[in-house]
């Protein structure tokens, strides 16, 4: 366990700078949010559009994938490289995603096509 925490006092200039940074960052988050909403709209619209399911399904899955990456990297701050052990965290998350993907493939192919 750590000993008492070592707290640094930021200089006024540093503090102002950080504050401006984080404000700019928050603006970026709002843009990200707008993109997510937009992607959701497209996904719902695509389904209602009446195109062939074989075309729509890959599209909506792709849109979902993009949304997830946005959530992870923007909202959940994975893009912040100063996060403690962020590389290891990414490794675990993407391993999980990969394993999840194999389940999908296995269950959609071998369970109903095999037998």
């Amino acid at each position: 366990m750590a000993h008492g925490t070592h707290v640094e006092v930021r200089t006024q200039a540093q503090y102002e700078y950080d504050k401006a940074q984080s404000k700019a960052h928050m603006r970026k988050q709002v843009v990200n949010f707008a993109i997510m909403i937009f992607l959701t709209f497209i996904a719902f619209a695509a389904v209602l559009s009446g195109f062939a399911p074989t075309f729509i399904i890959p599209v909506v899955l792709l849109l979902a994938g993009i949304q997830v990456v946005l959530q992870l990297y923007a909202f959940m701050h994975l893009e912040d490289r100063s996060t403690h052990m962020v590389g290891v965290i990414e490794f675990f998350i993407w391993s999980a995603a990969f394993i999840a993907f194999t389940f999908f493939v296995a269950f959609t192919t071998i369970i109903w096509w095999g037998i």
Binding site: A2, V7, M36, A64, Q71, I93, A97, I99, A100, F104
Partner: protein, 208 residues
């Protein structure tokens, strides 16, 4: 770490959630847990896909006729927005503004409650028209998958509400900052799962 240590916006660290060893542990731990939870959801998702539209001979309900997109759309919007509001809360946490944290987390909870209310309404409606849990393999899989997500929402709501109540009297410190941050990560994760639910269950369900 001293829980009563007082800060000013200037002495408040840039990354309050990771300023202590406990905070670092907590965040890495939560991420690792989320990786595990992803696989849990994947198992149930895969089962749902395999059992979609399967039931006893003469089953009346198929995904195509069952789901209603407008409701799913509203639910999606509520949850997505709540994701943004919890980002706001974290923004204020970094600026050592406890009132901001409290307000935005509060809004997040309200949006979450709205989502949950709609979900309960939806379930209740299905049961009412005869699509109950024990009806068919498909119904069991649907309720289990979506219900499991709903359970996560409930846990998230209790967690966030608890944090706000517990800390309302004492403001931000390095002991509770990682807790708020962890709760918000968890809340985002709920949204991530929902993205797949509305895509795989509702959108692909309506497509047949």
């Amino acid at each position: 770490m001293d829980i009563n240590q007082k800060f000013t916006p200037q002495t408040w660290p840039k990354h309050p959630e990771q300023a202590t060893q406990e905070g670092k542990n907590k965040l890495v731990g939560l991420w690792i847990f989320l990786a595990s939870d992803t696989v849990l959801f994947a198992s149930v998702f895969a089962t749902y896909i395999a059992l979609k539209d399967h039931g006893p001979a003469g089953m009346e309900f198929a995904a195509k006729d069952l789901y209603e997109l407008p409701l799913a759309f509203i639910m999606t919007m509520l949850l997505l927005t709540s994701s943004l509001t919890s980002v706001y809360a974290m923004y204020h946490m970094k600026n050592y503004n406890f009132n901001g944290v409290r307000t935005w987390m509060g809004i997040t909870v309200l949006l979450g409650l709205g989502f949950l209310g709609l979900e309960i309404y939806e379930f209740q409606h299905y049961v009412h028209i005869g699509f109950g849990y024990t009806q068919s393999a498909f119904s069991s899989a649907f309720f289990t998958l979506v219900g499991m997500h709903g359970l996560h929402v409930i846990i998230g709501l209790i967690w966030i509400t608890g944090l706000i109540t517990r800390n309302s009297g004492r403001g931000l410190n390095l002991y509770n900052a990682p807790k708020f941050f962890a709760a918000s990560l968890y809340w985002h994760f709920i949204d991530v799962v929902w993205v797949f639910i509305f895509t795989v269950v509702y959108l692909m369900g309506v497509l047949g």
